[in-house]
Amino acid sequence: MGAIILIATDELRFWRRSKIAWTVLVTLLLVSTCAALVSNVEVSRRAEERLAQQAEADAIFQAQPDRHPHRMVHYGHYVYRAASPLAVIDSGIDSMVGTSIFLEGHRQNSATFAAARETGLLARFGSFSPAFVLQALAPLLLIICGFASVTREKENKTLYQLIGQGVSGNKLVFGKSLALWVVALLAILPLLFLGFSSTGSDNFGFRQSLYSMTFGYLIYLSVWVLLIVSVSALLRTSAQSLSVLLGLWIVTVVLMPRIASEYASASAPSPSQIETNLRIAETMRAGGDSHDIEDNAFVDLRSVTLAEYNVESIEDLPFNYRGFVALRGEEADTEVLKQFAQERMSQELRQKSIADSFSLFSPVVAIRSFSMALAGTALQDHHHFLRAAEDYRFNMVQTFNRLQMSEMTLAEDLARNDGDEAGRNTRVNSSNWAEMPVFELRPLDHTQRWGAASSSGFAMGLWLIVAFGLLLLSSRQLRS
């Protein structure tokens, strides 16, 4: 162990005294810290904007004058999703799928069938987040630092001197890896500090997710450290080592995530938004138009209801039958919408699963999925938001439908367009709008996030084992 620490210490001393390595180290720390600061500012700004927009949307909604309840159903409402506290580290798919949606009667929210697609890391080159720095830039800077860690000893013949002092190949590569690992650790520190400050008051297990995420990034960067030192130990010259490692970086960091998402989209294609909308409209049409109480689709409903209340006509019912049809119609419509939404979500999860299988070819694919899942910015979090928004939309619409049932008679409702007075009779007091509960999304808890991240974590564990095996193999080459 003593020799390993000595070698690691000297490697760090070499970097400290070498201008290039020193510049790389400082750059890595600066980039990592800047990304943390920029991301923190950006996420805070967006969170404030969301709060302001939600407050404004709530205020506008509640400021609506007395209206017919069904007009409120179609007036709709915006809901906003509060950012996960760990979005400061990894904004995940938030920037692609958005965080606000419009809710309206008879329609699924605006986001479920949006044309958003899973995109590769390449598409995220523009997002300067700590996750991007750790996933893409940190390995590159580690390569620049460590590509010559062992080849330098061969080229300068100091390898003979080291072996002559009784240093085994294992000790040499472990020492070099330890030094590079210290650099990786420094790159992760800003993430940890940022995560600590952003999860200060959380009660959804985000602090635990932060620890898991940090551990995941340690494994990920350890994989790179081991690969870099292995390649350096296996090859004869620094030039060869740099070429191979840069090639590896381009393939695994730039190309593979892109290939993974393209392959996933091609293997399990999602129907287009127009195609989906047409299918939904067709299915809903078959279920009847709930605006029209004479629609054939509601014949059975009418007879069943009349029998249940033991009355002869709908005018004799103790509620506004038109509101009742709207209520039942919305239930049926929502069933259809949920079925299509579930189909769409399953399709997206299938795509994600196919893309995630590329974790076996690239550790970046694994850490990306792992990081997003634990940050609460992954696909399952988006689906959770969509389901919660859909439940909220359904409850909101049904509240208005119940108002329509209870606050006016059928006769008044049918005559609502017969002059001002008739119109006024079907308007509901605006104080009802304020009774609508505020949309609040309870995030998934740590166990659910960890469950979504575990397969990627397993893939990273495999990468670590493979990289460690390669390191041991490479150390056996260090004889001459």
Binding site: L6, F14, N156, Y160, I163, G164, Q165, G166, R479, S480
Partner: protein, 240 residues
């Protein structure tokens, strides 16, 4: 108990598909200085690397103090101080730092006095000892490498072109050091192009050609080796 500190028996070593040593055998007694002379590609450095366990012989056996190098490489390396052909030290470290670093790796913790004495022995100027080696001349680097080999205080020294780059005065100092070490029982195997230096420092000189030991000259009772005889054979072998 063996009589020999170093023993090569019918060594055959192949590097890069080419046979570099072919059936080479020799022994070096404890406290003896044995110099191998040979032209480029004769197999001098390969012989040392084989004794270090850095090259695996295809045939034959290399032994150090009775231990097979192939079977006990780590135990053997603990008994050997090796001075590579080009002073293999770190440019980013000072002479002092190089010595303490490499000695720490071999679990030797010499006192500052010992370090100073070793650097004095190789005549490394005091004012240069705190500077990184990247500012050193080849000769100065070689002096630090020699100091390192001495500080290991091992029973066997393997030296590859040890006087390369040294000025005449430093070469004289080096020969004195070798003589003193041999008198203290240290065994030295050195390979060199320097015919005169080899004859001056060694008890025996072997001529190496194409991986085979073709002749060995022994010092007379006064400790001298006839340089002209060695030179004639050496030149003859090189031409051949």
């Amino acid at each position: 108990m063996t009589n020999y500190a170093l023993k090569a028996s019918d060594l055959e070593v192949v590097r890069g598909g080419k046979t570099v040593l072919s059936g080479m055998s020799f022994e070096v007694k404890q406290g003896e200085v044995f110099a191998l002379l040979g032209g480029n590609g004769a197999g001098k450095s390969t012989t040392l690397l084989t004794f270090m366990g850095l090259l695996q012989p295809k045939g034959g056996v290399a032994q150090v103090l009775g231990k097979s190098v192939a079977e006990q490489p780590d135990a053997v390396r603990n008994q050997i101080a090796y001075l590579p052909e080009s002073a293999a030290l770190y440019d980013h470290l000072t002479a002092w730092e190089n010595l303490t670093y490499f000695l720490s790796l071999s679990q030797v913790q010499p006192a500052s006095e010992s370090l100073r004495a070793a650097l004095d022995a190789v005549s490394l100027p005091i004012e240069s000892r705190g500077r990184p080696l990247k500012s050193y001349s080849k000769g100065m680097r070689q002096k630090v490498a020699i100091a390192l080999a001495l500080l290991r205080e091992t029973p066997v020294l393997l030296l590859d072109e040890p006087t390369s780059g040294l000025d005449p005065s430093a070469v004289e100092d080096f020969h004195d050091i070798i003589e003193r070490l041999a008198n203290n029982g240290v065994t030295v195997l050195m390979v060199t192009h320097d015919l005169y230096g080899a004859c001056q420092a060694a008890h025996r000189v072997g001529i190496l050609r194409a991986g085979q030991l073709v002749e060995v000259f022994e010092a007379d009772a006064d400790g001298n080796i006839e340089i002209s005889t060695v030179r004639d054979l050496f030149l003859q072998q090189r031409v051949a």
